[in-house]
């Protein structure tokens, strides 16, 4: 891919982010501005900001890559990301805003009057936030590597530095402008190339076999295998091999029988036109779209429902999502903002399936090279080529960087808020800046040191943990007056803790096959009910510890603002 245009495009996005952030800096004067933009962000600006923040590397690159590799079942991801906002609207949006708290730990403390629950919630916020920051940094590394051949860690470092600079300098006020700007940038960066790609597809005779299974190659294609992998063949495959297959070196045309074959790193495979692209079984290896794939084949229905539950219920507990609701001026605005967000991210999610389908047509060999996430970046060059392809590719690359920057800044903001309030000694803007550096340093170190950590697992883990810890805390905290501090703590520990252990065990490769593997890889289906059940049962058992002010607090959560305003006056 030609980097003559892509590098300036990425640089432009980075500079624009810093400039828009600096514009926010001029009007960000007070501590309240810093944390919650003084709660004066109107629904439209806030909705664009929330959407900009939410559409991460996983949405921009990951979904198309997942669809390319695993087919339309993976479209449940964007559906779940969107429906998660609907569930958030139904049960949480307005009361959460009316609670008047800054962060999730603030909410826990206000509702339950317990320092212990507050600290526990803070630990979960930091954990989920770090888990979600990792894929952003690794996605940035991948993009820069695909574009320029730069080392993997460089992209992550660039994103980390820019994010820390903008967040630490301007806080929430400047971030709001940055995020809103980046939503529109991301939409444009996917929409414009998609239109040209569809035109190219049309002039190509509008082939439709993208929807068939499995994907096939349209022309002879040489694939270089970057990481050793096991190839699962349903039937025999004729391929020209230059390299090592099944432990023996080859340099000729070869007919591989059905079964599993081990392909060594660095091998070149030349597929004939019309050949079926075989499925690679690489376990967990570092792409956004690989990893838990194997378990889906074993238990597709269970896995699909697990995915649906985790995304539907996990969205409300993502720290960078929740913190945005405090910036609405009141509960009614918080609700309307959420509807606008649903519309904006719904429009955006029309595009990744287009890239996924076109990727199955024009870049199916990416399933073998280990970088299916690069499909979105490579398609303009592959389908259009020339100057037009380069320019469109540059636009997509800029949009991808906007995705990493915006989500990473939102997460850093949320994690830094918790670190400043609960870990560092005193509150104030200077400590917030220290917190920002801390919030980014840990995931950056992890992404540089661990390198090939399975990224899809990190995202899935973040959603599953959030769905089984924060979802019960928020829903029961808002709607159930008999929730007690011990109940909330026990539910979060049992639900979130078991989800965490389950996915960590899967990542460590503990049970490789069977139903136990599926149960552990997609924990939401059992860990969410477990968390709710624990929270309810322990609360009922400790009924004497219902906080004294519960009735007044619930009244504050639910009473319309016009009643409250008059009470104060």
């Amino acid at each position: 891919m030609n980097s003559n245009y892509a590098v300036p495009a990425v640089a432009l996005v980075v500079v624009a982010t810093v400039l828009v952030g600096a514009f926010g800096l001029r009007i960000s004067r007070t501590t309240s501005d810093f944390y919650v933009a003084s709660r004066t962000v109107g629904p439209r600006l806030n909705a664009a900001a929330i959407s900009g923040e939410y559409l991460s590397a996983a949405s921009f690159l990951g979904i198309a890559g997942l669809v390319l590799v695993q087919g339309p079942d993976m479209l449940w991801y964007p559906v779940g990301y969107t429906a998660g906002y609907l569930v958030l609207l139904l049960f949480v949006a307005a009361p959460l805003r009316r609670s008047g708290a800054y962060t999730l730990p603030d909410f826990a403390e206000a509702r339950l009057a317990s320092q212990a629950v507050r600290r526990l919630a803070g630990a979960f916020v930091v954990g989920v936030g770090w888990l979600y920051l990792l894929p952003q940094l690794q996605g940035a590394g991948l993009t820069l590597t695909v574009l320029t051949g730069a080392p993997e860690w460089l992209g992550g470092v660039i994103v980390a530095v820019v994010v820390v600079a903008t967040v630490a300098a301007g806080g929430m006020r400047s971030i709001t402008f940055v995020q809103a700007f980046q939503y529109w940038l991301k939409l444009t960066a996917l929409l414009v190339p998609a239109l040209f790609l569809l035109l190219a597809w049309q002039s190509d005779g509008a082939p439709r076999h993208a929807f068939e299974e499995p994907a096939t190659l349209r022309e002879q294609r040489v694939v270089r295998v970057d990481d050793s992998l096991d190839l699962k063949l349903e039937g025999p495959l004729t391929v020209t091999v230059t390299g090592t297959v099944d432990g023996r070196p080859h340099d000729r045309r070869l007919r591989l029988p059905a079964g599993t074959h081990h392909i060594e790193q660095g091998t070149r495979l030349t597929f004939a036109k019309g050949a079926t692209v075989p499925a690679a079984d690489r376990g967990t290896n570092g792409g956004i779209s690989t990893s838990l794939a194997a378990s889906r084949e074993e238990r597709p229905l269970y896995a699909t429902y697990g995915l649906i539950l985790a995304t539907f219920l996990g969205t409300m507990g993502l720290p960078h999502v929740v913190v945005r609701f405090y910036t609405s001026p009141h509960g009614v605005a918080a609700r309307r903002t959420t509807v606008a967000v649903l519309g904006l991210i719904g429009v955006f999610y029309f595009l990744p399936p287009v890239y996924g389908a076109l990727g199955r047509l024009y870049t199916p060999e990416l399933t073998l090279t280990g970088n299916p996430d690069a499909a979105v970046l490579l398609l303009p060059d592959r389908m259009i080529g020339g100057l037009g392809g380069d320019l469109l590719g540059a636009l997509v690359a800029g949009g991808a960087f906007a995705a990493f920057l915006s989500t990473a800044s939102g997460l850093t903001m949320a994690v830094a808020g918790v670190l400043t309030q609960d870990v560092l000694p005193s509150r104030g803007v200077r400590h917030f800046r220290l917190g920002t550096v801390l919030a980014m340093a840990v995931p950056l170190a992890a992404s540089v040191l661990v390198g090939g950590l399975p990224v899809a697992d990190a995202v899935g883990l973040a959603f599953a943990v959030s769905a089984s810890s924060f979802c019960p805390l928020l829903v029961l905290g808002i709607w159930w007056r008999r929730l007690t501090p011990p109940g909330a703590a026990a539910g979060m520990l049992v639900g979130g803790g078991s989800a965490f252990v389950a996915v960590a065990a899967t990542m460590a490769g503990f049970p490789r096959t069977g139903s136990l593997h599926a149960l552990l890889a997609w924990p939401a289906l059992w860990s969410v009910p477990l968390a709710f059940l624990t929270m309810v049962l322990v609360s009922l058992a400790t009924a004497g510890q219902v906080p004294a002010g519960t009735a007044a607090i619930l009244a504050r959560f639910h009473l319309p603002e016009q009643l409250r305003a008059e009470v104060k006056a």
Partner: protein, 119 residues
């Protein structure tokens, strides 16, 4: 009664309606503000109506989305249907559900304010 003109010219300040409210004219408001049992009952009724609205929309969402994986598993040949529904078909219904809920929730709140303010 003394008839001095100076005594008749007394300027009364402050909102007079507030006086009447304290005297029990707008009872529900006072009950809620002072957190009496009756006040809690009012808040509870609002919570119940809001929860009912949320659960209704949530149930519709479940009925809309829940059977889809089963449907797709039952019809493995209907790949194009799966692409169409998951790729493009669900976002508009989700936004419509959200708008429906917001309208209901805001109406519940308006009704509650009217009840409490006795208007």
């Amino acid at each position: 009664m003394p008839q001095h003109p100076t005594e008749r010219r007394v300027v009364v300040t402050g909102p007079p309606r507030r006086e009447r409210r304290v005297l029990g004219y707008y009872r529900p408001r006072t009950e809620i503000d002072e957190q009496t049992t009756l006040g809690h009952t009012y808040v509870r009724s609002l919570m119940r109506s809001q929860l009912r609205a949320a659960l209704t929309v949530f149930a519709v969402l479940g009925l809309l989305v829940g059977p889809l994986p089963l449907l797709f598993a039952a019809m493995p040949d209907a790949r194009r249907l799966e692409w169409a529904v998951l790729g493009f078909g669900l976002y508009v219904p989700l936004v419509l559900l959200a708008r429906w809920y917001v309208r209901r929730a805001e109406r519940n709140e308006r009704d509650f304010v009217r009840l409490v303010e006795d208007r």
